[in-house]
């Protein structure tokens, strides 16, 4: 009797081993490593989606053949495109390793970004750390580039990771984009890339968002660095080059090693005027100086750099105000400090009239190897 029970329960447990239902074989998987979305040129109502799929085929002896191809489909929504792609790909489409999502600029202006990303965020498989970018021109053109043997997604991934390390672009992925788009109190900024003449991918800067849509305004890489400094979101001391190129003979550049940011938001209760002062202190060492050995003191260089950077930071604030893109999360600060203020005032109007005063101070602490 005891043996019988054991045998029966063993059979039952074997049958119910849950792995059986959820297993997929690697050779049947078609791993997607990049996704792009564009406007369909024939039918502007439609979205054109493309995926770069990786095909793994065992060629015997533990070796695998890799081939990677681009597949396109179009439809009114992302889930429609997904359905169509499933029928075009031989095998199980697996998006859990889609490292890159590119959105063409025309589509980003017209279609809400959350409707594009919603299926990815909702699904169990969706990869939330995939890098996102807006492309100048068509996104599928970049995705279909063949630069080296490895897929283009990895090439762009490395490009982004390096630029993030240098504080040239913000750390943006599907998760941060989704969280900033959903959050009404803050707007998103994500990398902006283009296909260069030599069929390479080039980073141009960052694209500014307003709520769900791309505004069409772009910050250059230098401006993005300043914007990131003003956000005060620096996890590691960034090593960043700032070049003073007002006059060729005066040019010098500084490695920034430490950044301190302090912002102060005040509301004048009677006039309803909002003022934001952002003080950024940069600490670094001299990287290059025209006309070396130097005849100027560090203090003079500090002063020059500070005026130049403050000027540039003002430009940045003008651009984001123009684009109505609240990347500095001013609305959040306002709601946190003056919870009742926005109940009586319309945010759009407040943001138009807001006075942002950036104050960037450079502190050169060393002149490296040369005196």
């Amino acid at each position: 009797m005891k043996k019988f029970t054991i045998v029966v329960s063993c059979i039952f447990i074997l049958l119910s081993m849950t792995g059986c239902w959820d297993q997929t074989n690697l050779n049947k998987k078609r791993i997607i490593n990049g996704i792009s979305f564009d406007i369909d040129e024939q039918n502007p109502e439609n979205i054109q989606g493309a995926v770069r799929e990786l095909n793994l085929r065992g060629s015997g002896g533990g070796q695998f053949d890799l081939s990677d191809e681009i597949i396109e489909a179009d439809g009114v929504s992302v889930s429609k495109i997904n359905n169509e792609l499933v029928n075009k790909i031989s095998g199980d489409m697996d998006i859990s390793k889609a490292f890159l999502v590119l959105v063409g600029e025309d589509l980003a202006k017209q279609e809400s970004i959350s409707s594009l990303f919603e299926p990815i965020v909702r699904s169990k498989q969706g990869y939330l750390t995939s890098k996102v970018a807006i492309t100048k021109g068509k996104a599928s053109e970049i995705l279909s580039l063949q630069i080296s043997k490895s897929p283009i997604a990895f090439y762009i991934l490395n490009l982004f990771e390096n630029a993030e390390k240098e504080t040239h672009i913000p750390k943006a992925n599907t998760f941060t984009l989704w969280s900033e788009v959903v959050d009404k109190e803050k707007d998103a900024m994500i990398p902006y890339i283009q296909k260069s003449d030599l069929n390479r991918v080039e980073l141009l800067g960052t694209a500014l968002f307003k709520n769900d849509y791309y505004t069409g305004e772009v910050l250059s890489i230098d401006q993005t660095s300043l914007a990131l400094f003003m956000q005060g979101k620096i996890e590691k001391p960034p090593v960043m080059k700032i070049t003073n190129d007002n006059e060729k003979t005066d040019e010098f550049s500084v490695f920034v090693e430490k950044v301190k940011q302090k912002s102060d938001l005040t509301v004048d209760k009677s006039s309803g005027k909002v003022q934001l002062t952002i003080k950024v202190d940069l600490y670094g060492r001299l990287q290059s100086l025209a006309g070396s050995p130097k005849k100027v003191t560090n203090q003079e260089l500090d002063k020059k750099a500070s005026t130049f950077l403050t000027e540039n930071a003002k430009e940045v604030t003008e651009i984001i105000k123009e684009a109505q893109s609240d990347i500095l999360a001013i609305q959040k600060q306002l709601n946190s400090k003056y919870p009742d203020f926005l109940k009586n005032h319309e945010w759009e109007k407040v943001y138009k009239e807001i006075e942002i005063t950036p104050d960037v101070n450079m502190h050169i602490q060393s002149s490296s190897n040369l005196k």
Binding site: D22, K124, T129, K171, F175, K332, K337, P339
Partner: protein, 362 residues
Amino acid sequence: MSAAEPITKSQLFLLLIQVQIGFGILYLPNTLQQTAKSDGWISIILAGCTVQLVIVLYWLLLRRFPSLSYFELTKKILGAHLGYIFNVIIYIYLILTSTYILIASSKLVKNVLLTFSPHWAIGFLLLAVCIYLCSSNLQIIVRVFTILSVSIMFVILLSFLSFSLPIEVMNLTPVGSSGMSNIIKGLKESLLALYGFEIILFLYSSARHKGKTFLKVITFSNIFVVAITVYLTVIAFVILNPAMINQLKLPIVYMFRPLHFTMIDRIDLIFLPLWSIPVVMSIVVYIYFASHWKTTAPKKNNYFVYINGAIVYVLFLLASKSDQSFELYAKYLNSISYVVIFMIPFILLLFSYILKKKEHPS
């Protein structure tokens, strides 16, 4: 049961925190977002204080009858007939709670981990382990829980990883903006997440240290659970913004998803199984006590354990697994739990004082 070794202080502590930590916490930021919003952590602390008050009352009741099990205690205070009715209600509560935990865990495993596996298989595998453990004695169960507490350690360690995500402390300010009435509403929700402490009622007679030491241990375990709940909720609020928490079913699982490391991805898929271990194992405790209300002879109990296991499995299969019916189920269970967790112990306490009933040391 009395033949087995009594439970030590540390064992009691580890058992209690694991029974009290449940799936409720994973949903909590989302439910709090509907009421107390970013002040949810205040609600949780207040709920923790309420629980503390209740367990002190439990302790006042239990210390009058140090060697009686809870089922014997009801009969002793209220007489055989009324005590029997109360025991049946408590039994039903224990069985329904086990079923509820089983449904919740199988739903979670299916939704997040094994999408294509059927419910009956997931539920069976989860329950089979529990029933096997249940058929042994309390001492063994407690020892298993002691080992399993490592998983809680891992969960806490994993949660440190989430600090590498962008953090927005401004999501928590201004403190107290949602108003007192919303915070009180949030208290009710948070209380649900802290259920599990009622198991104290059944444990007193088996504990080695009674009296004030017992109260100290249960207080510490309550503080620990409340601290973990507050900690995880606050992290969820600063990492995910309020609008996002509003959309997410399981904010605390989801916040591990964007973590990305060179060696490892999808931390949420590691977090959830680790979290499920103590939660699923708390079924063991519920079924164990449900099976020990009639008799204390160890041999016969196994028989009841299998019957109760079968009842739980049948109820689990019968229950519809849709989100709506699950919510309805939770609502009904909630009303029974008010009776069992709050009303019955208070009635007992009141009567034991009025009738001056007390166990005489023999």
